[in-house]
Amino acid sequence: MYHPLFRAGWLCLGMFGAAFAPAMGQARKIPFESFDLKNGLHVILHEDHSTPIVAVTVMYHVGSKDEDPNRTGMAHFFEHLLFEGSEHIARGEFDSYVEGAGGVLNANTTQDRTFYYEVLPSNQLELGLWLESERMLHARVEGIGIETQREVVKEEKRQRYDNQPYGQLLPKTMEAVYREHPYRWTPIGSLEHLNAASYEEFMDFYKRFYVPNNAVLSIAGDIDIKAAKKLIEKYFRDIPKGPEVRRTNVREPRRQGEYRDTVWGKDALPMVIQAYPIPAQGTNDFYAVEMLNQVLSGGESSRLNRRVVDEAQLALFCGAFSFGLEHPGVTLAYALASMGVEPHEVEKAMNEEVDRLKREPISAQELQKLQNQIESQFVQSNSSMAGIAESLANYHMYFGNADLINTEIERYMAVTPADIQRAANTYYDPSQRVTLYFLQTQQSQPQ
């Protein structure tokens, strides 16, 4: 019901977490083959001839959590640099090769991984493999590219965060939730850090993380698996294996009571954010929290929507969602207060709904609704080749089990009303909560 333009802005906020939105596989079983090359590159192939296209993707197990705290934004910045060229691909040619062949290309970076993809006409599979192998083997990173992309990334940050309504929401929230773990900064990072990074640091980063043993090559579409395997050998076999990647093992300590703060800005309506730490994705409790959030905000009839938005009309929108992350993540309950409504009124209503879930298990009818919703999402997800390639890579990278694309739904379906109630009590714990108000700066308030 809220204004579609605003909704678009809100969705943008979600983008950085959306990279690992619960991809549920689908009712139609997705067959795939997977194997490792000698250099450690993991390969996943899915054959589907319905449309003559192929998605060629490479996922590197490097994200912002792997960054030096004094060089935040490096992983994402590096993603930009890796479109600059290679020993055999001149500056700008990545784009023209792919688009000139009738394809699209892009990449994105999250806290945990960096993902590159091309979707090409299926007769251009080899082109995609050549490009990705060039990127992995000997990308060329030069002064002009670094300088250009530094400015481009700064514009990306301004466009997505600094100049967006509530653009500081996620950076400020993550900064408040995490004090030790590198999730405390977001993938876009710091402009000052990027300015300070030297050429040598870029090359070190490349040698450390852009190695076949830290990557998944995932291909889906109109391919012949046997022929594809030969081409993969041809282009990737000789890429030297890199050193084993060492990862951060920082554990975020429990906090000693709720943390509350106000962030002042220019946006007119108050935004309320409640953030709670949750277990890592893939754990049983993670799925229980997912179902809990579905009770709170899955659809117009969900509890926060019904109570806070529709009945009490306290908010323009209100909901809850989790950032599933490789390390223990965070779940957010949020509300944009209606004009003239005080943020604490909204907060109180949100808490009341959560408290009700702590006291009373959901009914069999409500459980059935959740399961129907999950099933529907599961069927409708993974309908594109690019989406399937990405999900397969994700499932392998995080869980070592790409077949979750077909079976993850069982994890959701196994969640009981008692699990949901327990998750509400365990994880929507006020003593572990971070509550932030985003308010409009008034003359009398600190600038």
Binding site: P52, P121, E155, R158, E375
Partner: protein, 714 residues
């Protein structure tokens, strides 16, 4: 173990051992058969097949389109109304409200019940002013259609839900006030299409507050009719079953005559304009450079136009705007353009978000790219790359069965040939470099652009004035409504005192009252190679005569008196229209503006315009009693330092929309103790006319019959 490797390496084994020393320096060269130095060749091109669709008209006039696809066990039902855009006027937003409220209550279901039924089956239901979309897993089809049909046929539009929606919409406006994208979209709508066109309407708190329940009921009753609707069904269902369901759930829907709304034409503007909306504290400028385009979907040029736009700024990263503004200059995260055909009126928009410091430089690059593509041929490799890219996009789009449904709907709605999409790739491949140049020149208007910018006024606005033909930045609020952009005038100063200062500065009010008449003459330039002369004789209060001559021959003469006027040109005499007469009678009174104020006309001092070289007082003139915010009939600019009237602008609503005219007055000189401008330029209807007076005489000896009308002979 790898057959390719062992086969080719065998004959060269000895050589390979010898050469291993230098081969090792390049790991890629270890296998001689991998030539990394150039891109691999493509395999044979795959066939691109477009799925079929089923189409039929049901007895109540509803057109059913079915795209059968059993890949996934789901079906979507998309009901689309085929309507001419509607002008909402003072209630802008009511059409959207009608669409939103449709899903919030029926005669037998509350909003909560509707929401619960849809969520329970994990389905989707979205209503809008243009139709209803619903989807679910196949096995829930009946439960879904039950609700969809009820929402369509028996909505209640309750007052309570209307108030709820209104409150949310008002909050939405408040939250959009800091969103550069939302502001830019409002601004573009207003300046491109104007307030008389449906596309130029923007919701404001006033319009939202004016909406009443009857507006929504009326909209639904009038426009939600099967005879203007398409029901597009996609997914796991046969045409037969879809037909049965459509009859069962939508068969009782009654047809009725649906009005075809009149959409006014828009006058073509000339000259680039700069339109700015301030977003204090912004760290980027949202630039959108736009104009309207007369191009309907499926017209013969549409494909070539689309290729042209792709070369300029469409598609992915290869477009010229992206390569120039991002990859070469690093001004932005992305720069793109779109050229959207539309059955009513299309638009061209080129846009980017850029940091404040490079705002003007970015506009320079945009303008250069738009001009370049209209003036120079694109290269054939650029054209081929783009055609390839678009061919690929077309193929990729077919991955989604909804695409075939969208094709079907386009064919039907736009009356395209049935094979339009089946032959699309052939038509695309046939586009030539010459076609691109032709369509760029005929559809892009680099001399008639609205350069809209949402950003930090303090930091960037001044640098943009040079892009406007009139040298000025025009200011708008977050909802695209014009604001003055002026600095406040000193406390206590009024329009009347500014006008009095003007007359004092040009001779004195007392002396002006004693002036009886004026004769002046000079030469006229109007962009044609003809030396025209102008001469005027005026007796204040009695009449004025103007003659335009060419080589001594009178081409046109005009006489205006306090009661009537006439123009004679090429032997034809014509009475002056009442509207023109009122304007022209201004010259019969040397103290015209003071008289008008005394007569109750509304003169408003809006502030000081500091954009030009010299600061100007800005005074707006309206009919007595005009509402605040209505367009002024004219605007006067008085030099703050000298008191001279330097410019007047006026807006007249003509048959083709509002026409703006502008007169400027310069080179004031003293004649008989009074000061007069000797250089007067008039711009109207995109034509400019300049008069340079070289002779001026105050209180001339004049026979009154020279300046009054002789009685007309029968």
């Amino acid at each position: 173990m790898n057959s390719v490797f062992s086969k080719s390496s065998h004959p060269f084994r000895v050589w390979a051992c010898v050469a291993v020393g230098w081969l090792i320096t390049s790991s890629a060269a270890l296998h001689a058969q991998v030539d990394r130095s150039k891109a691999p060749a493509a395999g044979p091109a795959p066939t691109i097949a477009i799925g079929d669709y089923h189409l039929e008209k049901l007895p109540n006039g509803l057109t059913l389109i079915v795209v059968e696809n059993h890949r996934l066990p789901r079906v979507s039902w998309d009901l689309n109304l085929d309507l001419v855009p509607l002008k909402e006027g003072a209630k802008a937003g009511y059409v959207r409200f009608a669409g939103s409220l449709l899903g919030t209550g029926t005669e037998t279901r509350t909003k909560a019940q509707i929401d619960e039924s849809i969520d329970f089956i994990g389905g989707q239901l979205r209503t809008s002013s243009q139709g209803i979309f619903a989807s679910s897993l196949t096995r829930h089809t009946d439960a879904l259609l039950e609700v969809m049909s009820d929402v369509l046929l028996h909505p209640t539009f309750s007052e309570a839900e209307l108030e709820k929606l209104r409150t949310q919409a008002l909050s939405g406006l408040a939250s959009n006030a800091t969103d550069p994208g939302a502001i830019s979209s409002n601004l573009r709508a207003r300046v491109l299409f104007g307030e008389d066109h449906p596309y130029g309407e923007v919701e404001t708190p006033q319009t939202l507050k004016a909406i009443v329940r009857e507006d929504l009921v009326g909209y639904h009753h009038t426009y939600f009719r099967p005879n203007v609707a398409y029901l597009v069904v996609v997914g796991d269902i046969t045409p037969q079953l879809a037909r049965e369901k459509a009859l069962r759930y939508f068969g009782a829907w009654q047809p009725a005559e649906v009005p075809v709304n009149f959409v006014p034409m828009i006058g073509m503007q000339r000259g680039n304009q700069v339109c700015f909306a301030d977003l204090p504290g912004a760290v980027q400028s949202n630039i959108a450079i736009a104009h309207v385009v007369q191009l309907k979907p499926g017209e013969p040029d549409a494909i070539a136009v689309s290729v042209m736009n792709n070369i300029l700024g469409g598609g992915g990263f290869s477009g010229r705007l992206m390569q120039n503004l991002r990859e070469s200059k690093a001004f932005t995260y992305g720069a793109r353009s779109s050229l959207s055909p539309d059955r009513t009126l299309g638009r061209f928009v080129a846009s980017a978000n850029v940091r404040n410091e490079v705002t003007d430089s970015a506009v320079v690059e945009f303008l250069a790219e738009i001009q370049r593509i209209t003036r120079e041929k694109v290269t054939s490799s650029e054209l081929q790359t783009t055609i390839q890219y678009m061919t690929g996009s077309f193929a990729r789009s077919l991955e989604d069965p909804e695409t075939v449904a969208a094709f079907a709907l386009n064919i039907e709605r736009n009356k395209l040939p049935k094979d339009y999409y089946k032959t699309y790739l052939q038509k695309l491949a046939a586009v030539t470099v010459e076609d691109i140049q032709r369509v760029a020149a005929s559809y892009l208007r680099p001399e008639a652009l609205f350069i809209t910018v949402v950003g930090n006024r303090q930091e960037v606005a001044d640098g943009l004035a040079r892009f406007a033909q009139n040298g000025r930045v025009q200011y708008f609020d977050a909802l695209g409504r014009p604001i003055s952009g002026l600095e406040p005038a000193p406390e206590g100063l009024t329009a009347q005192s500014v006008v009095e200062r003007h007359y004092e500065a040009t001779g004195g009010i007392a002396k002006w009252r004693k002036v009886t008449g004026l004769h002046r003459s000079g030469k006229v330039e109007m962009g044609v190679p003809m030396q025209l002369q102008i001469a005027e004789w005026t007796l204040y209060g009695k009449g004025t005569r103007t003659e335009i001559t060419f080589e001594g021959q009178v081409m046109m003469e005009e006489v205006i008196t306090p009661t009537a006027g006439s123009t004679t040109a090429q032997g034809m005499k014509r009475a002056t229209s009442a509207e023109d007469l009122a304007d022209k009678q201004e010259s019969l009174d040397p103290l015209f503006h003071l008289t008008a104020i005394a007569n109750g006309k509304s003169y408003d001092l809006k502030g000081i315009d500091k954009q030009g070289e010299r600061p100007m007082y800005v005074v707006e003139v309206r009919e007595a009693g005009s509402a605040e915010g209505t367009l002024p009939e004219s605007t006067l600019y008085f030099d703050v330092a000298t008191g001279e009237l330097t410019r007047t602008t006026a807006v007249r609503v003509g048959p083709t929309g509002p026409l703006q005219s502008e007169e400027s007055y310069a080179s004031y000189q003293t004649f008989g103790g009074m000061r007069f401008p000797t250089l007067v330029t008039t711009v109207a209807n995109s034509q400019a006319l300049t008069i340079t007076y070289d002779h001026l005489e105050v209180n001339p000896k004049l026979d009154a019959s020279r300046v009054t009308l002789q009685s007309q002979k029968p």
